[in-house]
C-alpha cells in the first residue's frame, strides 16, 4: 500500500475522526498524574495531600462508544474512554509531554541516521508483559507490521505512513531498524500518536475471550461493552513502583452533566470533561476539585476552499475577521481557554508564534467583501451537538458576523451523523482536534491526499515543501520552513481557529495525584500516578 492508499483509507477516516481527532464530540478529557497542587484552576476543594497511598478501587466516568462500537483493540479504540483504557493496559514507544515535546516510554533510544531515512529503536530492558513474557524486538516488529498491514485498514496506519513496513529489520533482541519511504527528522513526534501502542507478538484479537495482554500499569479484568472496563494493578509494572490503585473501573457515560452528577453523588471519584460553565460554578462551591489542562484543544470553523463562496480568498479573510474570538473563549468556554490564530498547534514545537493575532474587525471584513463584490454575503454554517461548545460558538458567530454584513444561517445536524454526513461534505462546518505535533496534524489534515483534509487544502507545492521541512534535520532550518508553511495557511487557508479550549476534570477530595495534563499527552488518560486517600 502506498502513501496515498493509506491517507485515503475510509476506515481510517471515520475512526480517527471520532477519537483522535478531536471529534471531541461525545468524548471526554482525562487529566492525570503528578500532584494537583498548583494545577487546579481555582477555588475548588484541594485534592488528597501527602504521601501517595497504595490500594483502593477508583471509578472514573468518561465518554465512550456504544456497545456495538466498543472495542478492546488498541489500534481501533477511538473514543476518549477507549483511549483511556488502552493507555492503562498498554504502553507506547514514546509519548508527548505537556508541552508536546516527546519523551521515551518503552523505547530506550529512538535515533535516526544522518538524513532521517532510517531509524533505529532500542527497547527498554526489563519490561514484562502481563503474562510474564519479556518485551522483545519481535513484539515491536509485529506491532508495526500489524498496524501498517493494508488489509487491516487501521486509522493509525496514517501516522506511520512514511515507514517502509517491508524493510523492517530486527538487529538484536531489543533493537529494530525502520527504513522510511520518505525521510523524517522527527519520527518520535508521530510514534507518540493516538494508536501507536506496542502489542504482544502474534496478538491480533482483543476481547473477553482473548483478553488483552499489555505492558501497561493495569491488567485486564472485565469488559462490558459500551458500559465499563475493569482493570487491576500490574504488580510487575516497569516504572517506579507504580501504580498505586488496586483496581480501576472506567465507566462510559456520554452526557457531561451525568458524569458530573455521578461525581457529586458519590458514584464516581473522577468525572472527565466537566462542562466549562459547571466547572466555573464548582470552583466557587468547592464541592469537588477541578483541574484543567495546560494546553487547550483546537476548536475551529472550517471552510472548504474549493467550494463557493470560499474559493475567493477575500471571503475567507472576511470570515476570519468576523469572529470575536475572545467573546467565544469568555462565554462558551467560561474563560478556560485561549484565542486561536487560525493555525493548529498552539503551544506545540514549531508553532509559528510570530504571526500577528488576527483580531475581530468587522469593518475591515465589510470593506473586503465590498471590494470583492460580495456584499450581503450569506453562508450556512453546519453545526451539531457532537462536541461540547460547537453550537454555542456557532451561535455567537452568527451575531459577530452580522456586524460585518454577513448573514450566517445555522444548520444543526444530529450528532450521530455529523462526522459522516456533514463534515467535509458541506462547505462550512465545525471541527476540533486533540493536541499533537505539527508533523502529525499536517500529515492528517493538510496534505492533498489526506482523507481528512477538511479545508480542501490541496497544493502540491505546499505538500512538497512540507515533506521537505519534515525531513530537514537542522532544527533551525526546519523551524523556518514550518513557519513559512504556516504563514501560507494563515494567509489563505480554510481554518478559522477561534479557540483552544481546555479540558476540565472534576475529582473527589479523596483523589490524589491527579493533575492537569495536555490532552493526548503521556499523563493524559493514565492512572498510574493516581491514588485514593483512605
Amino acid at each position: 500500500m502506498n502513501r496515498s492508499d493509506l491517507l485515503s483509507g475510509r476506515a481510517g477516516h471515520s475512526l480517527s475522526r471520532r477519537g483522535f481527532l478531536g471529534v471531541l464530540g461525545a468524548s471526554s478529557a482525562l487529566v492525570l498524574g503528578g500532584s494537583l497542587v498548583g494545577c487546579s484552576s481555582g477555588g475548588g476543594l484541594p485534592a488528597a495531600q501527602g504521601e501517595p497511598r497504595r490500594g483502593g478501587h477508583l471509578r472514573a466516568v468518561v465518554s465512550g462508544n456504544s456497545s456495538s462500537d466498543d472495542t478492546l483493540h488498541p489500534f481501533v479504540a477511538a473514543s476518549w474512554g477507549g483511549g483511556m483504557v488502552m493507555k492503562n493496559l498498554f504502553d507506547k514507544l514514546c509519548a508527548y509531554d505537556d508541552d508536546l515535546t516527546v519523551r521515551n516510554r518503552l523505547a530506550e533510544v529512538i535515533e535516526p541516521n544522518a538524513d532521517g531515512s532510517e531509524w533505529t529503536i532500542r527497547l527498554r530492558d526489563g519490561v514484562r508483559w502481563h503474562d510474564g513474557k519479556r518485551l522483545s524486538a519481535d513484539d515491536l516488529l509485529h506491532s508495526i507490521r500489524h498496524l501498517l498491514d493494508p488489509a487491516n485498514k487501521f486509522p493509525g496506519a496514517l501516522d506511520l505512513a512514511m515507514v517502509d513496513a517491508a524493510g523492517l529489520r530486527k538487529l538484536d533482541a531489543r533493537t529494530v531498524r525502520l527504513p522510511m519511504r520518505e525521510p523524517i527528522a522527527d519520527l518520535p513526534s508521530v510514534l507518540a500518536g493516538w494508536y501507536v501502542y506496542v502489542i504482544q507478538d502474534g496478538a491480533t484479537e482483543f476481547s473477553n475471550d482473548e483478553p488483552p495482554v499489555g505492558t501497561g500499569p493495569f491488567r485486564f479484568s472485565r469488559w462490558e461493552p459500551g458500559d465499563r472496563v475493569a482493570l487491576s494493578r500490574n504488580d510487575d509494572y516497569w516504572e517506579n513502583d507504580l501504580p498505586y490503585l488496586d483496581e480501576l473501573e472506567i465507566i462510559f457515560v456520554s452526557q457531561a452533566d451525568t458524569r458530573l452528577n455521578a461525581l457529586l453523588g458519590g458514584e464516581a471519584e473522577i468525572a472527565h470533561e466537566v462542562p466549562w460553565t459547571q466547572a466555573r460554578a464548582q470552583e466557587k462551591t468547592g464541592q469537588v476539585a477541578i483541574v484543567s489542562s495546560p494546553l487547550g484543544r483546537f476548536h475551529a470553523f472550517n471552510m472548504l476552499i474549493d467550494r463557493e463562496p470560499f474559493t475567493d480568498p477575500a471571503v475567507r479573510e472576511a470570515i476570519k475577521l468576523s469572529v470575536d474570538r475572545q467573546e467565544i473563549v469568555d462565554t462558551v468556554f467560561a474563560g478556560y481557554g485561549e484565542v486561536g490564530n487560525d493555525l493548529y498547534g498552539k503551544g506545540a514545537p514549531l508553532y509559528n508564534d510570530d504571526l500577528p493575532q488576527r483580531a475581530y474587525d468587522p469593518d475591515k471584513a465589510r470593506a473586503l467583501l465590498r471590494k470583492a463584490g460580495k456584499e450581503d454575503l450569506r453562508v450556512t454554517l453546519h453545526t451539531s451537538d457532537v462536541t461540547p461548545g460547537f453550537v454555542e460558538a456557532a451561535t455567537l458567530f452568527v451575531e459577530h458576523a452580522k456586524r460585518a454584513g454577513i448573514t450566517v444561517e445555522l444548520a444543526k445536524s444530529p450528532a450521530d451523523s455529523y462526522w459522516t454526513e456533514v463534515w467535509t461534505k458541506q462547505p462550512f462546518t465545525q471541527t476540533g482536534w486533540g493536541n499533537y505535533s505539527l508533523d502529525w496534524f499536517f500529515g492528517q489534515a493538510l496534505v492533498s491526499e489526506s482523507g481528512q483534509n477538511e479545508t480542501a487544502w490541496r497544493r502540491p507545492d505546499w505538500d512538497r515543501r512540507f515533506f521537505q521541512a519534515r525531513a530537514t534535520m537542522d532544527p533551525a532550518l526546519r523551524k523556518e520552513r514550518y513557519a513559512e508553511l504556516q504563514r501560507e495557511l494563515w494567509d489563505e487557508g480554510g481554518y478559522v481557529v477561534h479557540s483552544f479550549a481546555k479540558w476540565i476534570d472534576g475529582a473527589s477530595p479523596r483523589v490524589g495525584g491527579l493533575r492537569g495534563a495536555t490532552v493526548s499527552s503521556d499523563r493524559w488518560g493514565s492512572y498510574r500516578e493516581v491514588w485514593l486517600a483512605s
Binding site: P275, T277, Q278, E327, V391, E392, E399, L410, K412
Partner: protein
C-alpha cells in the same frame, strides 16, 4: 361574555385565563422585551438580577427577553400544523362518511396504517429525510394528526348524515360539498372541539419536543423548546433559563386542555349540544 363564563365554569375559566395570558405573552412579548433575543447582556448563567429578572442563559442573553420572543414560533407552528391537519383530515373524513364503499376504503385504509405510527417517529423520519426546519415540523405534526382527525370527523359525520335534514338536503339534490359544509359540519363542532383540545396539547408538546431535539427550529432563534435544550446543562446553576420556558409550555398545554374540556362538558351550552346532534339543526 357572561354566557362564555357560565359555559366554562371555574376550572375552565382558570384554564382560559392561563391561555389568554400565555397568548398575550407570545404575541405582545417581542414588542415589550427589554432586549433583543440574541443580545448578550452579561456572563453566562447569571442568576436573576434587577437588570435581568430571569437571569441570563448559556450565552449570557437575557432569559426574560428570549422568553418574550420565544412563544410565537411554538404557537404558530402548532396552529399551522393543526390547521393543516383539520383541513386535510376533515375533508377526508367528510368524504369518507358521505361516500361509503370503495372511496371510503381507499381513503381510510392508508390512514389506518399511518395511525399505527407513533407521531414522533413520523417527525423523526421526515426530519431525517427532508432536513430540519419549520416546514418539516408543520408537515410532520400535521401528518401525525390527519388519521385521527379523519376518523373522528368520519364517525361524527356518519352519525349526523342519517338525520332527516341531511336526507332532505340530499333529496333536494344538493351537492355533496354543500351538504358537508352546510348540513354536517355545523353539527359536529362539539366532538371536533373536544378533539381539538386534546390535539392542541399534543401538538404543542410535539413541536416543543422537536425543537428541543433540534429537529425543527435552529439557533440562534428564540423558541421555548430550543431554550430548554440549550440551557439544560446549566439547570443547577441558573434554573430559570429552563424552568421559565418549560412553565410557559406546561401552562399553555394544560390551559388549552382544561378550557376545551370545560367547553365540551355535558350540559354546557357552547359549540353544539347533544340536543342539536340528536334532534335537529342549531
Amino acid at each position: 361574555m357572561r354566557r362564555l363564563s357560565r359555559a366554562l365554569g371555574p376550572a375552565g375559566g382558570a384554564g382560559a385565563l392561563a391561555v389568554v395570558v400565555i397568548l398575550a405573552l407570545a404575541l405582545v412579548g417581542p414588542f415589550v422585551a427589554p432586549h433583543g433575543a440574541a443580545e448578550r447582556v452579561g456572563a453566562a448563567f447569571v442568576a436573576p438580577t434587577s437588570e435581568a429578572w430571569l437571569g441570563t442563559d448559556q450565552l449570557g442573553r437575557d432569559v426574560l427577553s428570549r422568553l418574550l420572543h420565544g412563544g410565537r414560533s411554538m404557537l404558530l407552528l402548532s396552529c399551522a400544523a393543526l390547521g393543516l391537519a383539520y383541513l386535510v383530515g376533515g375533508a377526508i373524513g367528510l368524504v369518507a362518511a358521505l361516500a361509503p364503499g370503495p372511496v371510503e376504503t381507499a381513503l381510510m385504509r392508508p390512514l389506518d396504517v399511518l395511525l399505527a405510527l407513533p407521531p414522533f417517529l413520523v417527525l423523526a423520519v421526515l426530519a431525517t429525510g427532508s432536513g430540519r426546519g419549520a416546514v418539516v415540523i408543520v408537515a410532520a405534526v400535521g401528518l401525525a394528526n390527519i388519521p385521527g382527525i379523519a376518523r373522528v370527523v368520519r364517525t361524527a359525520a356518519l352519525e349526523v348524515s342519517v338525520r332527516g335534514w341531511v336526507e332532505a338536503a340530499t333529496a333536494r339534490g344538493e351537492r355533496i360539498a354543500a351538504i358537508a359544509c352546510r348540513e354536517i359540519l355545523p353539527n359536529i363542532t362539539k366532538p371536533l372541539l373536544a378533539d381539538a383540545g386534546v390535539r392542541i396539547t399534543t401538538a404543542i408538546s410535539l413541536v416543543g419536543t422537536a425543537n428541543f431535539l433540534g429537529l425543527g427550529l435552529q439557533p440562534p432563534l428564540a423558541d421555548w423548546g430550543l431554550m430548554i435544550a440549550e440551557n439544560r446543562s446549566g439547570l443547577l446553576l441558573q434554573p430559570w433559563a429552563v424552568l421559565a420556558p418549560a412553565l410557559c409550555i406546561a401552562v399553555l398545554a394544560v390551559g388549552v386542555n382544561v378550557t376545551a374540556d370545560a367547553l365540551t362538558q355535558p350540559g354546557r351550552r357552547y359549540g353544539g349540544t347533544p340536543a342539536a346532534i340528536e334532534g335537529g339543526r342549531q
